[in-house]
């Protein structure tokens, strides 16, 4: 009837690494933002599972703050992306290399 805590955390680690790879390898900025959301969700899964494991409510409460920040970051991030897009008409991060070097 039970799933060991290690499996929950492993699931969270897998989600986190998929998200991290998405951030590092994808070139479309909106996809990068979505990959960051996946990483945050991975963290949330870990917090809720640990909260259950430790029989303490704190983990679940922390998830609320993570969600708050995720929403705030999404709003600001999309605003920045749209501002860049309005200027460049591209969302390909490779083409945004003006400052490199």
């Amino acid at each position: 009837m039970t799933v060991p805590i290690g499996h929950w955390l492993a699931l969270s680690a897998v989600l986190f690494s998929i998200g991290a790879v998405g951030v590092l390898l994808r070139r479309n900025l909106i996809v990068v933002l979505m990959a960051i959301e996946i990483m945050l969700n991975a963290v949330n899964v870990a917090f809720v599972a640990l909260s259950r494991h430790l029989q303490s409510m704190d983990g679940q409460v922390i998830v609320f703050f993570v969600m708050t920040v995720a929403a705030a970051e999404a709003a600001v991030g999309l605003a920045i992306i749209l501002a860049v897009f309005a200027q460049r008409r591209t969302l390909n991060a490779d083409e945004l290399g003006r400052l490199r070097g």
Partner: protein, 484 residues
């Protein structure tokens, strides 16, 4: 019935950052309703009033030492002294931005309230004794900083700086949260007291992983090598006033947060993190200095120089004694004055059309604007670490604390690095005083607020250098109760 913990200690501890945040909100409302009026001076002064309110609260509380919110939010010498650094850099940023933004065509008056929100976030970080509160403080500061970096929306460099800063900052946030989850899982707590209490019985792998994740996340915020890749681009692309805020306020907040977290909350693990910080400190100062050597743009050079200074600061953290903690705090003070001043001079050189911040633009500045060249010389000499200026005492006490704790190699590498740094700072001084100017004199504007800020930075750089002992004693004393 639940017990809500709220008494005098709570009111006192939140007063400084709350006043700044409320000041920001009032200035914001003012900015919205003053839309039709010409100029942004009134919004700037409203925001300065908010900062002044925070300053008054901070000074009134100096000397008090209280735990509030169940020990998760500190009111002590460290938080109060850090508040002074944050308020100083925010106030100077506001003065320096006045006129500078308008000449670039930035009309967004929300600039000023956003600087106040960022400052409130820094003050929260400086006092946080709980990872969740530290996280929220970082977010308040960072969200405001992302927007500020991109406030010049018609300049591709500015929006791109905002984008890079945002993507890497949000990425770092994920690591921070995963680190918090690791400590929560291992010790069952997020407050520094709870973590300390739970360290003994926690699984070691989770602790090491947690330390690594937190180092990555905070390393991004403080621009520590190898997490510094965003720094030069973001610092160069952002409007110079924002760069000044990022390289002083944001960095100082990250360092106060790191110092408190590792020296206090993770103090018992010091053998693990001291080694990491030793290596990262040496890497950071060396990489920063070597790259600064080859820059032809002074703003970018200062960006790399700020990475090098992060290395010196991290060396102080690695030493980890209360003496070293005090030295780090003093260093932040001295660093604030000289760095704000140097960026202020770059702002003064810019005109509406051109930033004029290449090394070639500074050639012969002494002939054209001797006072400005003189001020820049003082800031650069101080950044080099020439006595009796502020930068010297900052570095001196970090080295002294390292030697005192037996970290000779760290001290030697730090001194060697300062010698490398002297080369590129002196190159600017030579260009200003000994070379002939190129091209016509740009149409410089007179900006009284900027001039006042530069004067204050100069006076600060000289005075802190001559009389460091008061601040140093206070800072050491403040850390004595933290490092257990």
């Amino acid at each position: 019935m639940i017990q809500v913990p709220f008494g005098t200690a709570e009111w006192q501890s939140i007063a400084p950052f709350s006043l700044v945040a409320i000041g920001g909100m009032i200035a914001l409302l003012w900015a919205v309703f003053a839309e039709e009026r010409p100029g942004t001076t009134s919004v700037m002064w409203m925001s300065q009033a908010g900062l002044a309110a925070g300053l008054v609260a901070t000074i009134a509380l100096l000397g008090s030492e209280k735990a509030s919110f169940g020990g998760t939010f500190a009111l002590d010498g460290v938080s109060l002294l850090a508040n002074l650094v944050f308020l100083l850099s925010a106030s100077m940023t506001l003065f320096m931005a006045q006129g500078h933004l308008e000449s670039m065509g930035v009309r967004a008056r929300e600039f000023y309230p956003l600087v106040l929100f960022a400052t409130a976030g820094m003050m929260i970080m400086g006092a946080a004794r709980d990872l969740v509160i530290l996280f929220l403080g970082i977010e308040v500061m960072s969200l405001a900083a992302y927007v500020l970096a991109g406030i010049h929306r018609r300049d591709p460099g500015s929006t791109e700086a905002a984008l890079k800063y945002f993507v890497l900052g949000a990425f770092a946030t994920c690591f921070l949260l995963y680190g918090i989850a690791a400590f929560y899982g291992a010790t069952g707590a997020t407050s520094y007291d709870g973590i300390r209490a739970g360290l003994a019985s926690a699984p070691r792998a989770a602790l090491i992983g947690g330390v690594a994740l937190l180092v990555v996340a905070l390393g991004f915020k403080a621009a520590i090598v190898p997490f510094q890749a965003w720094t030069p681009d973001v610092y160069q692309g952002a409007p110079t006033a924002v760069t000044a805020l990022m390289s002083v306020g944001v960095k100082a907040a990250a360092f106060v947060g790191i110092t408190r977290l590792f020296l206090d909350g993770l103090g018992p693990l010091h053998q693990d993190w001291q080694r990491i910080f030793w290596v990262l400190a040496v890497l950071t100062m060396t990489v920063g200095n070597v790259f600064a050597l080859v820059q032809g743009n002074v703003k970018r050079m200062l960006a790399y120089s700020s990475i090098a200074h992060a290395g010196y600061l991290l060396a102080g953290v690695a030493v980890g004694t209360s003496r070293a903690g005090g030295a780090v705090l003093l260093y932040l003070f001295t660093y604030a004055f000289m760095t704000l001043g140097a960026f202020g001079v770059l702002i003064a050189l810019g005109t509406g059309e051109k930033p004029n911040d290449d090394l070639d633009d500074l050639r012969g500045l002494a002939d054209r604007r001797p006072l400005l060249a003189g001020a820049m010389t003082i800031f650069l000499l101080s950044l080099t670490g020439i006595p009796p200026l502020a930068g010297f005492v900052g570095k001196f006490y970090v080295v002294e604390s390292a030697v005192n704790a037996g970290w000779f190699w760290l001290a030697i590498l730090l001194v060697l690095n300062s010698a490398i740094a002297a080369y590129y700072y002196l190159a600017v001084i030579v260009a200003m005083w000994m070379r002939d100017p190129i091209g016509d004199e740009p149409a410089w504007e007179s900006r009284p607020y900027l001039a006042a800020a530069l004067l204050a930075a100069t006076v600060g750089t000289v005075l802190v250098g001559l009389f460091p002992s008061g601040t140093l004693d206070f800072a050491r004393h403040a850390f004595a109760s933290i490092v257990r």
